[in-house]
């Protein structure tokens, strides 16, 4: 017997509606009311049996629901077609979520720590800046190169990461994050602290940086193209990572994370799996970074600091480490909340850190903890 689909469908629609409303309202009191209302609604829903129903529905009807979620985001983009800011935010959430998908492969599956996610995001961004401005490569190739270069730069860290564990491995990535940002700041070729300008994304003569004219009267914001591109990238990355998780690759990664020694005893090549996870994750971060650079039009070292990397890490832990479904909501909360709540603009980092601490103290598994894989509908229930 399949679980009914309506709880998850309802939740998806409600989430999209809440997100849209949140982006739409302007007044601070309305934003504050909305946040309070959403928190209250979540708390109430948590008390009912609904979360289990949502989970069951997702595992039984993954395709229909994924299609619905995609439709919802397309609907949001269509709704905000003339609103630059809302679209920029949507695209930013999607791109950050892609980078966090990459981090999930590393942290959540293989257990490889990476506190320099923003640095690899930055490698992609700077690659886009340098290649798009100074070479004639077609832009899709530039973006792909951004991912490849991020993975290659990351390969410098592979050897030390393989030899170390735990806090020692954490130090390596922390050191790399600081090294990367300092290097950007002092490198004249890469523009120093001021950074570089990045030309907009152009494919087959279609420039993403010009508004889309439909008729004399109406014009779509040029961010529509970027939001669509970012959403498409997220969908592709999500499907790929989901496939990876469900395949024997994902199982092997889990084995390596849970117990390295036993994994080695059972003939898993621990090093190979860790390298695969680290490179794949950095590739995703690099691709997202390249598109992000082209969208915002400039890159500067200040966007790729250790604190930015920590924001990425907080997203995946808040969402529930290793749970792909948690990434998009968590990214939306972490990215949108400070941007939208101008009232608390000054206090946003303070508030944000307190919220993360509270979540970690009272819900150590994150908001949506990872569940067991279900290969068939209804597997493992009953």
């Amino acid at each position: 017997m399949r679980a009914p689909i309506w709880p998850a469908a309802l939740a998806t629609l409600a989430m999209a509606a809440a997100g849209g409303l949140f982006l739409y309202v302007e007044q601070q009191w309305a934003v504050a009311c909305l946040v309070a209302g959403a928190a209250l609604a979540l708390a109430l829903v948590g008390r009912t049996g609904l979360p289990a129903g949502i989970q069951a529905a997702w595992s039984d009807h993954p395709r229909v629901l994924a299609a619905l979620a995609t439709l919802c985001s397309a609907g949001l983009i269509a709704f905000f077609r003339e609103d630059h800011f809302a679209l920029l935010m949507l695209a930013k959430v999607m791109l950050f979520a892609v980078a966090c998908l990459g981090l999930t492969i590393q942290f959540g599956y293989a257990g490889v720590v990476n506190f320099s996610g923003a640095a690899f995001f930055g490698v992609g961004a700077y690659t886009a800046a340098a290649l798009a401005a100074r070479s004639g490569l077609p832009h899709p190739v530039v973006i792909f190169t951004g991912g490849v270069l991020a993975a290659l730069v990351g390969s410098v860290l592979v050897l030390p990461l393989l030899r170390t564990r735990g806090h020692y491995a954490a130090l390596i990535t922390v050191a790399f994050a600081i090294l990367f940002k300092t290097f950007l700041e002092v490198s004249d070729m890469l523009g120093g602290p001021q950074g570089l300008k990045v030309p907009g994304f152009t494919v087959l003569g279609w420039s993403f940086n010009s508004n889309i004219e439909i008729s004399e009267a109406s014009e779509l914001s040029f961010y529509v193209s970027y939001a669509l591109l970012a959403s498409a990238l997220f969908v592709v990355a999500y499907v790929l990572v989901r496939r990876l998780e469900r395949s024997w690759l994902g199982l092997s990664l889990d084995v390596v994370r849970i117990d390295e020694t036993s994994a080695a005893v059972f003939g898993f090549e621990v090093a190979r799996w860790k390298i695969l996870a680290f490179m794949a994750g950095n590739f995703l971060a690099g691709v997202a970074g390249a598109i992000y650079a082209m969208m915002t039009g400039f890159v500067a070292p200040a966007s790729f600091t250790l604190s930015e990397s920590l924001i990425f890490v907080s997203i995946i832990i808040l969402g529930g480490l290793g749970n792909l479904a948690g990434i998009l909501p968590a990214t939306a909360v972490v990215v949108l909340l400070p941007e939208k709540l101008q009232l608390i603009q000054e206090y946003r980092f303070l508030l944000f850190s307190v919220v993360v601490i509270l979540v970690l103290l009272f819900r150590p598994g994150g908001l949506l903890p990872r569940t067991l894989r279900s290969y068939r509908p209804g597997w493992g229930r009953r």
Binding site: Y168, F183, V186, S307, I317, I357
Partner: protein, 305 residues
């Protein structure tokens, strides 16, 4: 290169090394006793420096002018209050997470550090600007050949080294130190032997945090300027120093601290652009970790399965 210039670099490196070692000692103490990394350490240092500044302003307002009275008072207040803060962080943010994965402790304390930093920035009057720190130490200097040694640096180096020695004596010779080492080795057995686990942990955190406060006051007295972000890099450097030396090992922290200062000094001499010194130092740290995965002075230990 002139020998006196080399001497000057070595002397400045020593000054930095003492500060780094003070921070690293904290990291290594926390790791030794609980196997956790408390990333808010650098920001505790910042808060310590600001506490010292407030204490100074209060005392100066009350009419006390003598530096002989001011310096110890300021340092003492900062160290005591940061000891308390460190113990509070341990009690409410570290101990409750003992069962959670280690990454959660790291993230919680990181966020606590961010909260502290932001609190200083927001709630200290115009806290986002750098604040002048009073020049309380004698300003003269001795010249030895071509080498000038400022009195204040000499005093700070001596104080820092003394503090490290005191911590070392406490850990190796005192009853508290025995308890700390027992908890570090096996907290369960230590509890069976009647050692108050929580009290020992809190005292260790207090001790490490007051070292950070001392480092913060030293930085303030040396550079005569403090700002809300000063602890971030110092914290990471202290962490690197502790890890490179070998976590949980006091000597390792000291070696790591001086090594990092030496690397920075070398980098500054080597490259035309001084900012490359951090790039160089952190790159060498990564290489060192690849060479010695558990630090330079790590205990040889077989893995238990």
């Amino acid at each position: 290169m002139d020998l006196s210039i080399v001497g000057q670099y070595v002397f400045n490196g020593l000054m930095l090394g003492v500060i780094y070692a003070l921070v690293a000692v904290g990291f290594t103490l926390f790791f030794g006793v609980l196997d956790v990394i408390k990333f808010s350490h650098g920001d505790v240092l910042t808060v310590g420096a600001f506490t010292a500044l407030v204490t100074y302003l209060t005392l100066a307002h009350a009419g006390i002018q003598s530096p002989w009275l001011l310096v110890p008072a300021v340092a003492l207040v900062a160290m005591l209050s940061m000891g308390l803060l460190g113990a509070l962080i341990a009690r409410f943010l570290v101990l409750p997470l003992r069962e959670a994965p280690p990454i959660n402790v790291l993230l919680t304390t990181l966020m606590a550090g961010t909260a502290l930093r932001e609190a200083v920035r927001l709630f200290y009057p115009s806290g986002s600007n750098p604040k002048p720190f009073p020049r309380l130490l004698p300003t003269g200097s001795i010249a030895l050949g071509g080498l000038t040694m400022r009195y204040d640096s000499l005093i700070l180096i001596a104080t820092g080294l003394l503090a490290i020695v005191v911590v070392h004596m406490l850990v190796t010779r005192s009853k508290l130190g025995l308890a700390i080492r027992a908890v570090a080795q096996d907290s369960e057995t230590a509890r069976i032997m009647g050692i108050h686990f929580q009290q020992t942990v809190l005292l260790t955190f207090a001790m490490g945090s007051s070292m950070a406060a001392l480092a913060g006051v030293s930085v303030g007295l040396y550079y005569n300027e403090i700002n809300f972000g000063m602890g971030v890099l110092l914290g990471v450097i202290g962490f690197s120093a502790a890890v490179v030396g070998g976590l949980g090992n006091l000597y390792g922290a000291i070696v790591g601290g001086f090594l990092f200062a030496a690397l920075q000094t070398l980098g500054a001499v080597w490259f035309e652009v001084p900012a490359y010194k951090d790039v160089f130092a952190f790159a060498v740290v990564i290489l060192l970790m690849a060479w010695k995965p558990t630090g330079l002075l790590a205990e040889r230990q077989a893995e238990r399965v």
